[in-house]
Symmetry: D2
Subunit: 362 residues, 4 copies
């Protein structure tokens, strides 16, 4: 990963600013012959879309994706299929309200990239955060939908929210089936009311809060990944940490493993149905940077949305001290919409490693 | 990063197995004209070296590094200087005891990469862990020493241990000056005795334990890093997660930020001496993937050494269930020796981003 | 360069098929603050545009480029300027005639990529050549226009045609001022009539012909490029050879140097105005992969257009022997329109190396 | 390719200077389980070795390669086999005569990289040309030997010399079996005497001469390579042009195709034994950047050795005009020893594309 490009063999390059004409990405390296329609991608974009509940931003974006290249259909192909050439995806920015940006143009909002973009580039497209806006993550979700197609039906990638602010789910209640039946992607239905009240209060206060996202990939065969700078967990860590507002990443037991002894941490192995079976999964499905066949488990900490109504001290471009108060349509908890983004990034890492493994090993 | 290569403009490729003839790396992209001697590198290798206390492995390796290329000296240069061409570094493996590897040859030690290397490659160099051994990290430290030279004297990189198992330091006692005066790189001198007793007990039990490493870089100017897949924090996360036994990575407040509200998390900004000053550093010195001029702070969770004397269930190469008990000279807490490795990786990321920034911006 | 991406620090990824909805590219790594308008790019596209004379394809494409991202303008910027983030460029395909592709769908035209795309990918977008169409080169020209902006006004890149089929220019007549005053980019005005008659005859016969393109870059400072796999001449060779129909590439004296003795080939050096001056330029401005400050000179052989009216033997997808005769609006000499493409690729290589040099050396 | 690294999936990084302690390379991405011994590599190094006839440099280097990592042998493996991890190769520099370098230290030899290395890096390792010496090509040959192992026995790569100075072989005499039976790798035995006399005279005059190398790869399946910046011919052109003293590269008919008409250039296709067969091979086995199953044919022009006894005008580091006369043990025609190097680079490109193809397509 570098610049605005993710991946090695499965790669995509994203472009576009929050309030420019459009955003898009170019997905390169996709194997040929894979069935792919706009709907295959739209399904995942709809999970990430703004405006789906009062707990996410009310910005109204249809977020309709268009496939501009790399897919071909004729009477012989039974629907559109990838050709192996670059797949260009684009979403028009339909909600570019004409508005007065004077407030943020010359002011640095704490926690935003306003200051650092100016420090690096000398000036910035300040409209809605420009390139640093989380709007870019729509293209990650789009690329991830293609990655899932490459991975095929035997690999299942799913994500959820395990913590909002100080409120954690009860792991004993974990039920993946619940995830799509509440506005928080929670696997614990019992916490939903708590989170609603909690977030409602924060939202009314103009405040925001952090969250923890967990993603799983099951069905990944043993052997993907590679030593020592191309480890599977290394690439997952990078992929998740590249998501806006991410401040931490864990694999398997993660930070908890720091408190474990070797005896506690050992994932013992037995045989089941003639195949190796791990009796626990502190490793998160990865050993020595290579998948072990168990479920891959990763977690990501998302900081609170920096846009809050409470006035905070800051400075202007020319070094005047001010107080800043950010109006606008913001997510009280960006962690919610980060769930489909984290799933997508995990899918992209796996698709890339699937192809890289196949390249070296056959 | 991919395969066995780190970095983009400042890059290195490492090679070698734990019990092969030697290990080494090739550092490419180093600016010319930088003074560089074996001693500049040896200093850092000595911090990581086995056998320095009873709390680290007793393997006796002199770990003497040789510079084989990329440095030139004549009567005009006032000592050896980098030429801008690849710097080849090598350390001979002097402690290759002839021994019976039958025990691990056909047996998968839980928590090790034995099983996954076989799953990927079909067979493996099992002597001492082969390529997956932490011995490889010596070359990271060596490359990191060169990275520090590139960064120059105004950027200070240092690391320490903040937690061993369940025993955390008291942050109020933090004193960087203590770090080099105890065998644990602890910044809190009051915890040293506790850790000694704790580790001694674990070691005698043939058990091991995890740890948390923290690294800081001060003096980094605002503006390094880049959106959106080449973020500075993304690359730090990848670099740390690529270290053996790492299971989690944090930037700034990290996972704690998940529990924060936006008001709590805001790093307010004021002016001091005509320069921006952040009143807190939850961001860990990075906003939108770009350094903000404040100290860069990262943390890494290291799992317990997997080699333990307690028998654990496992399987053989051909699928027989067994119990495994790992003898040998192992670190009871690999987290200790991970400190100089984490420092080195942070230095390498920063050197790479310094050159990348200079490339794009001038 | 790999997949559909050119470059390292200055990079672009192109996408799109000849008869899809659009073609485009994403230019990444551009320094910020550079003035850039659609017109800056359109100027060069117009040189490459079809339909400008009877000697190039009559396909009617307006080829109007749109900048979709990476450029920002407000009342402070004095026109649009690059922001340092990805610049997305798009050209709509306006001349997608509905037509019967049955003729080429199942038939392999000799000299085209029809057979090899099928061999690699299993099927292909056959409409107008799909991804293998020279239409893709429009995006190279667009990216090259941005590269020129990065290089600035002191570096001049220009190209011309020195040979069409068996008819070569007379080097003694070389006048760069002539290049834009004839439909062939010829620097020798005396050959223009000869080429007109020659090409007219070939075109009427439904035949085509090859050509040689020469490109120069003057004003490049000594020191750009790098040993040993990132040499400046290596990257120029790759960039030119990646252009459709290219079959050979030379630097400086090129193949002629094979017949030279060392005495004949030596580019002697003297001092002029306190600067080194080369008395000849067999090196083509590059020594050891690094620019020497003299004019960079490269040449490229372009094969004849493969689409000809004369029937030739070929096969169908299912292995039937046939004869193929290619109708349509084809360039009798694709070498002509390759001139602005070659200039663009040279500009892209130089912009990339300028940034890479600055990254390593400062 | 960039910096000192070749390739994408099959990659190697070379290091070392002509008169340093050693030269070496690290080959990464090699598939596991391939039988590999020192002798497999030494065979090819011996073809390139200095001192084999009076027509090549008399420098005496044993050039014994050592494999330091990435290969493992035990009683189960039936000889050493690649493990899939980095293969480190090293050759000690045994012939580092202590000598007075004052002559070249401050003087720029025309045609050498002396001037440009100083221009780029500010100073240089001038001993024997340092990093810019053709000695580096030994590592290309070593890496190429591994590439051949990856490609397997069905792909045959071979090279020869078709021209020395003004003396070309007679293509009608072409016999691959002759190549190893004369000191010039000539496929035409009738030209051997001519070349001997010609080179002897040049050598006695202290002069040198250029040459043309041709390389073939047969047995490459249709489908390797990729549009549009990762074309097979693009990568071959880059690989050959990166060889010291290369000034031109051709694929198939190459520059001759510029003079062809489309009718003359068409490679007609028929069926033979139920497989496509090309009736000619102007394409050189590549269409649209993808192999077509026919023999891949490439050619490279090598300039005369720049080290000549005839005095030529030049300058010193501090800008004084001088005349330079290069003593020492030089090849009168470096093109001869470039033959095994060109073969090796072709093998490396093909191995990389084999793995990349397998990665994307399966």
């Amino acid at each position: 990963m570098s610049h605005n490009t993710f991946g090695h063999l499965f790669r995509f390059t994203s472009w576009g600013e929050s309030h420019g004409q459009a955003i898009g990405c170019v997905v390169d390296g996709c194997p040929p012959g894979i069935s792919l329609t706009n709907d295959d991608i739209q399904t995942y974009l709809d999970k990430r879309r703004p405006g789906t509940s009062k707990f996410v931003t009310q910005r109204q974006e249809a977020d309709r994706v268009k496939i501009l290249s790399g897919v071909f259909e004729d009477e012989d192909t039974d629907g559109p299929r990838t050709t192996g050439t670059p797949i260009s995806l684009m979403i028009d920015n339909t909600d570019q309200r004409s508005r007065d940006y004077a407030e943020i143009k010359d002011r640095y909002r704490p926690g935003h990239a306003d200051f650092t973009y100016d420090a690096k580039y000398g000036f910035r497209d300040y409209r809605g955060g420009g390139r640093s806006s989380a709007r870019e993550t729509a293209m990650r979700v789009a690329a991830g939908a293609i990655a899932r197609k490459i991975l095929g039906d035997n690999i299942h990638i799913r994500g959820c929210l395990t913590q909002i602010g100080t409120k954690m789910i009860d792991g004993d209640n974990w039920d993946w089936n619940q995830v799509d039946h509440n506005p928080f992607f929670s696997p614990d239905k019992d916490i939903v009311n708590t989170w609603e009240t909690y977030l409602d209060d924060l939202r009314k206060d103009g405040n925001s809060v952090g969250a923890i996202v967990e993603v799983h990939a099951s069905g990944v065969p043993a052997g993907w990944g590679a030593p020592v700078y191309g480890k599977l967990d290394t690439d997952i860590a990078a992929a998740l940490m590249s998501i806006n507002a991410a401040k931490g990443v864990e694999i398997g037991a993660g930070f908890a493993s720091a408190a474990f002894t070797g005896v506690e941490n050992a994932d013992e192995i037995c045989m089941e149905d003639d195949k190796p079976k791990f009796l626990s999964n502190h490793a998160g499905g990865i050993l020595g940077g290579i998948s072990n066949g168990d479920t891959i488990v990763a977690r990501m900490a998302i900081k609170p949305t920096s846009s809050i109504l409470t006035p905070v001290r800051s400075i202007t471009r020319d070094g005047q001290e001010i107080t800043v108060r950010t109006k606008g349509r913001h997510d009280p908890c960006v962690g919610i919409r980060a769930v489909p983004v984290a799933e997508a990034m995990l899918a992209c890492v796996l698709a890339d490693h699937m192809l890289r493994h196949r390249g070296q090993i056959g």
